[in-house]
């Protein structure tokens, strides 16, 4: 059996581990257009602010490929997939055959056309290690920075650049920050917190025109900068799968074994795919690392012939900005229980006798996983002491039978 994996991040690594849980002999070839040993993309902001070294950014130990008997082709781009011939074409023109293919190419920054952007010499995305290495070369103490996009990526960049005492302006077309994970109240709290660190926000605004070192905004203001961070959004990498005849609807469509719809022996995982969100009963792109790993892991097991299914995906985020932490999961459509005190905020959302989502900020985040498991398992609220749980997540609030099963036996799987 020959496995080819495209992508060297969480989905690709999850696939390697999944394959090797089932098949220790098959040949694995992993191809990535980045030249690096597998590293953690979300750590780039920590690298830029000096909180983690490049050596410590590796996602798996240096002997990972060797121990798992994986051949790698790093710094090599795949240009085409022929699903009928079961081959992939490389940028060198070389053609490589496979029995099973795993596609985990992730996403790329989405940069909308902006007038005069070609005039700006120093503009950067904030996705890859090479992006922050390039920023490192131009950033100076007190650099003036314009960040376009007040989402997770733009604000992680802002946090890192605070380390350089950067003078930052963040603009966004939306009327609030972090709309993908926070509600209005949470956004307000985080915005005030980040503003207190000296970052300026201009919302409901975009760039009308770029000059080499300034931007005229649609609200009439002009912002001077030394460099620009472009963090408007990301777009799933789907073109190779689409060209090969696979089903794509914004993201790559797969079944619950991660097999790509419309193709045989081709699997996909990670930010390039669509997931079924069990908390909202809807399909969406869940571009989060745990999801990518678990999808890839499932794909790997299935490629190697095991029965495995990934069917409890949902939005989940744990992230901090300038020392204020957020943990969120699920959907926010339902009745709310709210606690709010300064930067500390808790919102639990219930619907149909279950917890379907939550937002926790500041000192409300401890033991959040107890809530996450209730969302994932659709725990009936009338089977627990929810009045106790609302205030503090605790195993005490579950039935003795649940605790005996989960804590007292030898069984320690967590589904």
């Amino acid at each position: 059996m020959k496995y080819v994996i495209i992508g060297n991040s969480a989905a690709g690594i999850g696939a390697v581990q999944g394959i090797r849980e089932v098949d220790i002999e098959g040949e694995i070839l992993l191809i990535s257009d980045e030249k690096y040993h597998t590293y953690s993309r979300p750590l780039i902001s920590y690298y830029l602010k000096g909180a983690v070294t490049e050596d410590n950014m590796i996602y798996r130990p240096l002997d990972f490929y060797e121990k798992n008997n994986v051949k790698t082709m790093l710094g090599v781009k795949v240009t085409a997939i022929d699903a009928a011939a079961k081959t992939v074409t490389l940028d060198s023109g070389e053609i490589v055959g496979y029995d099973k293919l795993m596609y985990g190419a992730g996403s790329v920054p989405f940069v909308p056309p902006m007038d005069g952007m070609e005039n700006v010499e120093n503009k950067f995305s904030f996705m890859k290690l090479d992006d922050v290495k390039a920023i490192e070369k131009v950033v100076k103490q007190g650099s003036k920075v314009l960040i376009v996009g007040a989402g997770l990526i733009g604000l992680k960049a802002a946090e890192a650049l605070e380390h350089y005492g950067a003078d930052m302006t963040v603009i966004d077309l939306a009327d609030r920050i972090l709309p993908s994970i926070l509600d209005n109240k949470g956004s307000d709290i985080m915005k005030a917190h980040i503003e207190s660190k000296g970052v300026r926000f201009i919302l409901q605004t975009s760039v009308k025109h770029f000059e080499p070192n300034s931007a005229e905004l649609t609200n009439g203001e002009t912002v001077d900068f030394d460099f620009v961070i472009l963090a408007v959004g990301v777009r799933p990498c789907t073109s190779l799968i689409e060209a090969a005849g696979g089903s794509v609807n914004r993201g790559i469509e797969t079944d619950n074994t991660q097999a790509v719809k419309g193709l045989s022996d081709v699997y996909a995982a990670g930010d390039c795919t669509k997931s079924y969100d069990i908390s909202a009963d809807t399909e969406r792109i869940l571009a989060i690392l745990p999801n990518a790993f678990m999808q890839g892991n499932t794909a790997g097991k299935c490629m190697a012939g095991a029965d495995a299914y990934y069917e409890n995906a949902m939005p989940m985020n744990a992230i901090g900005f300038f020392g204020l932490h957020i943990i969120t999961a699920g959907s926010y459509d339902g009745e709310s229980y709210i606690e709010s005190d300064g930067d500390n905020y808790k919102r639990l959302v219930t619907k149909d006798n279950r917890l379907c989502g939550f937002i926790l900020m500041g000192n409300k985040i401890d033991r959040a996983g107890i809530y996450t498991s209730m969302v994932r398992n659709k725990t009936p609220l009338d089977s627990v002491d929810f009045d106790m749980l609302k205030v503090n997540p605790a195993l005490m609030a579950f039935s003795r039978g649940y605790r005996d099963e989960k804590l007292a036996g030898g069984v320690c799987s967590v589904s």
């Binding site: 745990p290 997540p393 989960k406």
Partner: protein
Amino acid sequence: MKRVYVNEDWCLGCHLCEFYCGFANSGETDMAKAYKLDRAAAPRIRVEEGDGINFAVQCRHCTDPLCVKGCIAGALSKTKDGVIEINTDKCVGCYTCVLSCPYGCIVIDPKNNGRTITKCELCTRNSAGEPACAANCPNRAIVFEERGEA
């Protein structure tokens, strides 16, 4: 594998397990000194107390650990003996593991202002020899034993 189990009928809620945990991971040889000089580690075991019920919980060292699968930094890993370890040089304190652990057993480490997490490693990386919580439980409510995998 051997794990730590708690019999909640016998747990007195005395919190000694928390103190012994903090001492075992302090690097000190004298418990009174460890606490007096504020060198004790944050306990990785936690006693829950309720109406006539008490029990201690700590990492279950799951066979299929969501914390390891979800860790964005590759800082959590499972040893060949099944112990889930944290590499604090790699941990960036994002708390994805806090979000993931169904038992609420990941500890945001107050000893370094939450810059990393800490967790039970079954006393495999300190000098205690075997889990200090079990060895020092006065009512033998906490045991360290093999019960078999499912």
